[in-house]
């Protein structure tokens, strides 16, 4: 399981829907130490592993993976991964080489299609993919890509695949089966994750009706969307760690006037460069007050100030008025871990 956004949740969905014990790395620890730990902790011959984009080649080869799921590719931790297109090229080389693997891939993400079209067997998923800012120029010919409401193409002939296995609109249809998707977890992005997970399970021959019921029942993955308490506040913890993830998360926040808390760090696991904050459409928060937390709260507050959003930069002695409502806390990777540790079960 790899891609920029949704890896941990989609991995958990496959593990939940597989209907048998599986080895899996549940904590977002997605490089080889995390994989080895997951594999030794389980006796099951079945494994579902979340894999950092840069490690997909090594892990696919060394585990003889049967299915590889490619969710999406967009800008994230550019100080470490450098350029999104390099990742797409490395995936393409891998999948052209390891021809035994079945690939489940997002047909609406041109960089993912560029990687997956090299594979011998692909189950294409026609799922909504609003973030295409990183795929403006064609990965084959560098000329502009064209987008319509339902398709995309390049003048060189590179285009959205037509042999679609899975479609997600109001209904989810996987290989002709209409599945009753009714997730407990919020957000359009989780419906997309579920569509990709169920397509992967279809490739593995799992009964999809039973798998859908198990996936629907998930309420929280690795603390994401969990409700926790801190001081006098009741919090809903939300993870968003790059522009595409943040844009999707801000859209999923309920339309209301209440305060939002946002926490931003720029440690190794987050990427040291927080310039991506300017690619997040924070303008949608105008009219709401944002409490800014984390090591880089001043970077966040500056960004929000220029977006016309009212901010409070939180220091240790800042008093935050109590609210009866559950407050949404959106945090990037290590800031999210900080909030999980800092908060308690309610």
């Amino acid at each position: 399981m790899s891609g920029t956004n949704g890896k941990t949740t989609t991995t958990a969905m496959i593990a939940a829907g597989w209907l048998k014990p599986v080895a899996t790395n549940t904590t977002g620890s997605n490089m080889p130490p995390g994989h080895v730990a997951a594999l030794v902790a389980s006796k099951s011959p079945a494994a579902v592993l979340e894999v950092d984009e840069a490690w997909l080649g090594d892990v696919t080869r060394s585990t003889l993976a049967e299915v590889v799921v490619l969710l999406n590719l967009s800008r994230d931790q550019l100080d470490r991964a450098n350029e999104v297109r390099r990742i797409a090229e490395r995936w393409r080389a891998l999948l052209g080489d390891v021809t035994t693997v079945k690939v489940v891939a997002n047909a609406n993400d041109p960089l993912v299609v560029f990687a997956a079209e090299a594979a011998a067997h692909v189950a294409w998923c026609d799922v909504p993919t609003p973030w295409t800012t990183d795929a403006v120029s064609c990965p084959h010919c560098t000329q502009p890509l064209h987008f319509s409401d339902t398709s995309w193409w390049s003048d060189c002939g590179f285009k959205k695949p037509t042999d679609i296995a899975t479609t997600l609109g109001n209904d989810l249809v996987v290989r002709g089966s209409n599945l009753d998707l009714a997730l407990q977890m919020p957000g359009e992005f989780n419906r997309i994750n579920a569509a990709m997970a169920l397509t992967a399970l279809s490739e593995l021959g799992v009964d999809l009706g039973a798998a859908t019921v198990r996936i629907n029942a998930l309420t929280s993955v690795a603390g994401r969307f969990s409700v926790r308490c801190w001081r006098d506040h009741r919090l809903r913890l939300l993870l968003a760690k790059n522009p595409a993830g943040f844009a999707a998360m801000l859209n999923s926040l309920e339309q209301k006037d209440e305060d939002v808390w946002i926490a931003i760090n720029a440690r190794v696991a987050d990427g040291h460069d927080p310039s991506w904050l300017y690619d997040v459409p924070f303008e949608v928060l105008r009219g709401r007050r944002v409490y800014c937390f984390g090591d880089r709260r001043l970077d966040l507050a500056t960004r929000l100030d220029y977006a016309g959003v009212e901010t409070v930069v939180v220091a240790d002695d800042t008093t935050i008025p109590a609210s009866t409502a559950t407050v949404d806390v959106v945090a990037n990777y290590t800031a999210f871990q900080d909030w999980r540790e800092r908060s308690r079960a309610c």
């Binding site: 120029s137 001043l298 970077d299 960004r303 220029y306």
Partner: protein, 225 residues
């Protein structure tokens, strides 16, 4: 009316560079100056703008950006008196040539006497440049090494990081400021945003207190002390 053109943000905006346009417009508006951002898409003509912003981009998009800019009226607009702030890939394509994947000498616009070759190692990390007694802070992430002709002045002296070559960063002319620092540059450095605004608006501006001042103080304290 201050018109800020954000050039090909889909190609040249990898590191939040669009933020530079928002910063210029906001800092002008808060002083009572009408201002707007003109987004220039890849199918659009170059608008009549006071200042053009070029950001960073990956190799393929940078190549396409250079092709589109060469075919556009961009150079003519600059010749007619428009200003330019260019960062990273934007900096590179203003020169004679630059290096991209598969090509060591891809034609730039040749607006300035600068040449970018591929460096031995990618420069990734915090960048601090001394510009006329001020610290300019940002983050760099590029594989280029830029050489300036004798008549082209660097933007400043590198205090931390690499910039053009480990010694100096970017370049500046009467109409152009170019740096390897993203962040975005004008958000991280409010004083520098005002240097640009004063030149473009041809006025002297009163200081403006913003959250960015706190950020700038914190970054300089962290990176220099």
């Amino acid at each position: 009316m201050l018109k800020v053109a954000l050039v090909y943000p889909e190609l040249l905006g990898t590191y939040g560079d669009g933020g530079n346009a928002v910063v210029l417009v906001e800092r002008a508006r808060r002083r009572g100056v009408d201002a707007e951002v003109l987004r220039v898409g890849i199918d659009d003509d170059m608008p009549d703008a006071s200042i053009f912003l070029l950001g960073g981009g990956e190799d393929g998009p940078q190549r396409l950006g250079a092709d589109l800019l060469r075919a556009s009226s961009f150079s003519a607009r600059v010749g007619d008196g428009a200003y330019v702030v260019a960062v990273c890939a934007g900096l590179q394509l203003l020169g004679h040539s630059f290096a991209v994947e598969g090509d060591d000498e891809y034609d730039g616009l040749g607006l300035v006497d600068a040449l970018t070759r591929r460096g031995e190692r990618r420069a990734v990390g915090e960048l601090v440049v001394e510009v006329e007694g001020h610290a300019l802070v940002g983050f760099e992430n590029h594989g280029g090494r830029t050489t300036l002709g004798d008549s082209l002045a660097p933007l400043g002296t590198v205090r931390r990081g690499v910039g053009n070559d480990g010694a100096v960063d970017g370049f500046t002319t009467s109409r152009i400021w170019a740096s390897y620092a993203h962040g975005p540059l004008l958000a991280m450095n409010p004083w520098f945003a005002d240097v640009v605004l004063e030149r473009v608006l041809e006025v002297s501006l009163e200081p403006l207190a913003t959250t960015a001042d706190l950020l700038y103080a914190e970054r300089t304290r962290t990176l220099i002390d």
